[in-house]
Symmetry: C2
């Protein structure tokens, strides 16, 4: 904004704040709007009939005339208001009428003049606003006025400031978007004007953090423009700025934490059942090749390794210290750890904020900050980083190396991640508990995983975000290259209440979270199992290059259900062009159905699957395949699985790299077949038509966010 | 309806039909409304100013006056229309004004009088209509007018005729229901008047099947009443009546089919790989104790059993004939089967309507009808009925006896049912393929399962219904005692398209299906896997006696996700009263959270789970428990599972019978623990917080439909 504008607005706000006010007056609000190019109804004060007509001509007809007099409070009673004057003549006459009425009403009244105000109210009634969200800061809201926003909550949010493109996106993001485009013969709204207004509101609240809330309600939007008929602006204390470490600094620390040359275990123990013993075993049995340094004041040696009384006794540098001691001993030990120059303190102990011990937690955060130690936790199971064979946890080692990094705010969910990983042999790069998130949070982890070549996708369970903007910034960067999957717990009002009682975290309105996570390009998982399945499948599926999805199915019944799932997942069943249709038809029985789904029918031999799938992979117009398998004697499950794996591999060799998912309907042999397919890059599930398509839908959501499908 | 009303309406419709019209005129439509007590704007023809005032007084002010003259076409141009006259004086004056205007406009015009019409338009604009649905026949629709119905499709359907209670239900069933109750300070609608109007529309279309469509749009509903401002009625040929067999007759036939004393296999074969061989093996190996009769013109003996050249050669009665011969031989064999007096023909062969051979299918239907044979299929895998050890199928035998009966329209889905059953050891009473549904359909099967003591729940996959009303009638009866789960494929527009190409079935608009299935009390499964899980779990869970659900969790993180799931499933987290809260608090650590979820925290011993779960089961105010388990060394998975199974069993002994579901978060041992719990009547899943709650939600949906929670 021009500095002149800034200083005008600054002056208005400072004056109001100086007067101890929390809201601007209507004229002040209009003044701000004017400075930021937000249209409000035109108005002017006339002291003659001719001047009234002149003003009306300038601001545009029709107009409203209102008497302006400190002595006439009830304007209407005094005959001091005329609405809907449509011509200069009517305005002139009206001026005289009002003046006469006012004089008749109170002959002694001091009359300042007559206010001429543009009459607005045509077109669509919309609401544009801004709030200061506890997680995300300044957030812009847009919705259709009346029932739609108030009863159906048809509203959308974006981080402020926002681009013109984002503002246009908001117009399309409400359920009733069609209305603005002129559904039912209504006048379409001027989209440029409306998007411009939204963008300006975003700029205003970003330029002035003291603006806590803006409420333009209603805004009247028609083919000509968008005018804010009522302006309400709340002001207050500037929210505290979040301090963030420089990215390079975070990366340096996180690299030392994930790829440490040495790990100390504070509270290492030889006694089975103790956490300090489990951590030692897991480090050793997990195959960690760096130095393992047991710290225990009462031992000289633990599990065959020399022990130290204190971390300060360790010769040489220590990168990571895993804490396995009761909460009450943590502060002192952390102090020593800090002095030693450790990069990361992995704070397993509980007994901090989650049990009400907020002071204790603050104390250790301060110690860590003072020494530049990054702290994971407290109240966590620890962390795994498989490329380094590092299992710094009291759970069991996990060694299936792969390319997804998972994090969880809850220990229970962390255990579910571990169990699911083990049972599905999901290849992971990291599993990290963040627990109370007193220091290291999702932003730090994303910053590391962004540049970590061992990680191709990130999946995060979270109940709140300490710094919503920091997360969005980090996520936006990562999403360009790798999917970021988020399970945001506390989705519903009831869920949020439970989050409140669990971690004392302030769970924001889920709609704000949902819109902003989407804006950040994050793939949100609707539930725990979905997050796990996305995490397992997304790194395996290649990115699609377009929106054309084709179903090839042996079971017509699966075809119908897969089509339902396609729509549910926001995917598009390709409209097969005639030549391609003919090409498919050549491979299937005459009573099979081409089109899409392509129903090859149930009794077909492997060659029919092979021919149609190969065609689907080879034709460039097709971008993804969904397979429906039906268990028959002619094409048994493992024959199907091996065949598809081979065809997909062969076509990939030829450069035909496309996501392929499969739903297997059949007797129990389809379980083994599904596993085989998964291991060979085809995401396959038995007994469900929903899951393979949901996973493909998640991959598409990421691909769109990453800009791969434009 | 009174016979006078009936005969008036009959006369209007017959006249219009006789004139070859497909729509009634506006006055005819209003006449029908009048007869059925559906308010339309009052009106009358006045030939004097005094009469105009009198009419206006009768129909209610304000009114509109309109000149009635065959010689004045453009009434407004002639000054022949006055709107919004508010008093008798205004009406009298208006009458004279219009008359004078008209005479000035055209002195020669013949003037019939002046129409006095009630002015409507206040309150809420709603739409009430009725359509003739291909599946369900007469269906009533209700929605809020304007954007809500046309852009957001906020509309609801019910079978006509409908009860007053159902009509009231429609008012609450739209998303914007609050609007009618007076949201945002609007005038609340008169609910009695509006529900009454809906009910009357339902009665009208039910009384006169020739009414194909009714469109009352808009209806203005305010605090005083509901008036249909515009009436549009389409008429046409009376839809063909569906003939239904008497219930006793269906039951007699179905009982012979499910509990046959003898089963013939038409096309029995000793040759491995042939369908006639697989069917024979499955009957024998499945352990069927009735007579097995191989029919084969070329064999004397098959698999150790005497074979017959033709079914007519069999001495004594035959209850079921399983067909395992090519389509072209079916008609002749069916003719003989009919002559033999067989109750059921299990028509495995394909090659009928599904491959375009509609005539062939019609032919065999006619043969079956002629002989009173009920035919299952064609184009099916056969059927299982475990209480009789009956596996009349070419798939593999299945013998885990249990209490859910499953049916599928698609063979592929049938195979998925079989595989899922086997892998989860789901106890089933029956698995039935209905395929092309040329004869036996879901209604027949529901009629049998209704009275079958071996069946406690029914789960059906279907793509269409031959007789929607027959299904609803049967489902309503069954639902009173047993849950009916339906997976309706072709849910979405794209899905429906696929259904069309698959079976040629006309898939109706899914919203109609959805509302009417719900009205029938059916639990609709959103996808295949959901249907399977509901089928597995619902017979195990006892019915809840109230809406108070309580979460007891060791993992706070699971508690939050379980709360999300509770809301998604339409369940209610109980508001724990203070005394109960105190009682729970006594068992959990001070930093645990009571309230709901009750977070017992992670490190607790088995006794904490035991105490809290026992309290949850014993307190009568709690109606269902959702458990969140967190794998720890203190309470390992199997310890938790055995403990919960024991506590639940003990409390059941004491009469505390409540549904209990559990989500287990932990390492792979939680899989065995979940299975153990399932086997002991607690529905438990590993790695998901959604599934146990979704299943509980399904049980609740049934319990509400069965009237158990009123």
């Amino acid at each position: 904004m021009a500095s002149a504008t800034i200083s005008v607005v600054r002056e208005v706000i400072d004056k109001a704040l100086a007067e101890g006010r929390t809201a601007l007056t209507a004229p002040e609000g209009r003044r701000l709007c004017e400075e930021y190019g937000i249209a409000t109804p035109g108005e002017g004060l006339a002291t003659s009939a001719a001047e009234a007509a002149e003003i009306a001509g300038k601001i545009g007809l029709p107009v409203v005339l209102k008497i302006v007099s400190p002595d006439i409070l009830h304007k209407t009673d005094a005959g001091g208001v005329l609405v809907g004057l449509k011509s200069a003549d009517e305005v002139r006459e009206g001026y005289d009428t009002i003046l006469a009425n006012a004089r008749a009403y109170n002959p002694d009244a001091k009359i300042d003049g007559i206010q001429v105000q543009q009459l607005v109210g045509g077109g669509h009634e919309v609401i544009v606003g801004a709030v200061t969200d506890p997680t995300f800061g300044k957030v812009v809201a847009f919705g259709l006025g009346g029932v739609l926003v108030e009863v159906l909550q048809d509203v959308t949010f974006r981080l402020a400031p926002l681009s013109g493109e984002d503002a246009f996106g908001m117009l399309d993001d409400i359920r009733a978007a069609e209305v603005l485009r002129g559904a039912r013969g209504a006048e379409p709204a001027n989209r440029e004007a409306l998007a411009g207004l939204i963008e300006r509101v975003g700029r205003l609240v970003s330029d002035f953090p003291e603006i806590i809330e803006v409420d333009l309600n209603p805004v009247f939007a028609d083919a000509n423009g968008a005018v804010a008929a009522d302006v309400r602006i709340l002001i207050g204390e500037k929210p505290a700025e979040v301090t963030r470490l420089p990215r390079e600094e975070i990366l340096r620390q996180m690299t030392r934490i994930f790829k440490p040359r040495s790990v100390a275990v504070i509270g290492a123990s030889a006694e089975t059942g103790k956490i300090g013993n489990s951590v030692m075993s897991n480090l050793i049995n997990g195959g960690y090749q760096g130095q393992i340094l047991p710290i225990n004041p009462k031992a000289d040696e633990i599990m065959g390794l020399p022990a130290y009384k204190s971390i300060s006794d360790v010769p040489g540098d220590v990168d990571v210290a895993v804490f396995a001691i009761p909460a009450k001993f943590v502060a002192a030990a952390l102090e020593e750890t800090g002095k030693k120059g450790v990069a990361g303190a992995v704070m397993i102990p509980s007994g901090f904020a989650e049990t009400g011990n907020v002071e204790g937690q603050q104390e250790i955060v301060e110690i860590a900050r003072r020494h530049g130690v990054r702290m994971l936790g407290p109240n966590i199971y620890g962390y795994y980083y498989t490329p380094e064979n590092l299992c710094a946890t009291f759970c069991t080692p996990y060694d299936v190396k792969g390319s997804v990094a998972l994090t969880s705010q809850s220990g229970g969910i962390g255990m579910a991640i571990l169990g699911f990983s083990r049972t599905t042999k999901m290849g992971v790069s990291a599993i990290v508990g963040v627990g109370n998130k007193a220091d290291v949070d999702e932003d730090d982890l994303l910053t590391f995983f962004e540049q970590d070549d061992n990680t191709k996708a990130v999946a995060m369970h979270l109940e709140d975000l300490k710094d919503g903007r920091g997360f969005v910034d980090a996520a936006r960067r990562v999403v360009k290259e790798k999917p970021v999957i988020v399970l945001k717990a506390g989705r519903t009002a009831m869920g949020a209440r439970a989050a409140g009682s669990h971690t004392g975290a302030l769970a924001g309105d889920d709609k704000v979270y949902d819109d902003i996570l989407r804006q950040a390009g994050v793939v949100r998982a609707p539930g725990l199992n979905d997050m796990l399945e996305y995490a397992r499948a997304l790194p395996i599926l290649p990115a699609p290059k377009g929106e054309n999805v084709v179903i090839i199915t042996g079971a017509g019944g699966s075809g119908v259900l897969l089509s339902d799932a396609i729509v549910d997942a926001g995917l598009t069943l390709m409209d097969i062009p005639p030549d391609l249709d003919e090409a498919f038809r050549a491979y299937i029985p005459p009573f099979g159905a081409a089109g899409n789904p392509i129903d090859i029918t149930g009794g077909e031999p492997p060659s029919t699957y092979e021919n149609t799938v190969r065609l689907g992979l080879a034709d460039e117009r097709i971008h993804a395949l969904v397979l429906g398998y039906w268990h028959t004697i002619v094409t048994p499950p493992m024959v199907f699985a091996e065949l598809i794996a081979r065809v997909v591999a062969e076509e990939r060799q030829k450069g035909n790299v496309k996501p392929v998912v499969a739903s297997l309907a059949g007797d129990t042999e389809v379980e083994e077949a599904s596993e085989y397919l998964f291991e060979h890059g085809v995401v396959a599930y038995p007994y469900t038509t929903e899951k393979p398509v949901a996973v493909l839908g998640a991959k598409y959501r990421w691909a769109r966010a990453a800009g791969l499908l434009r």
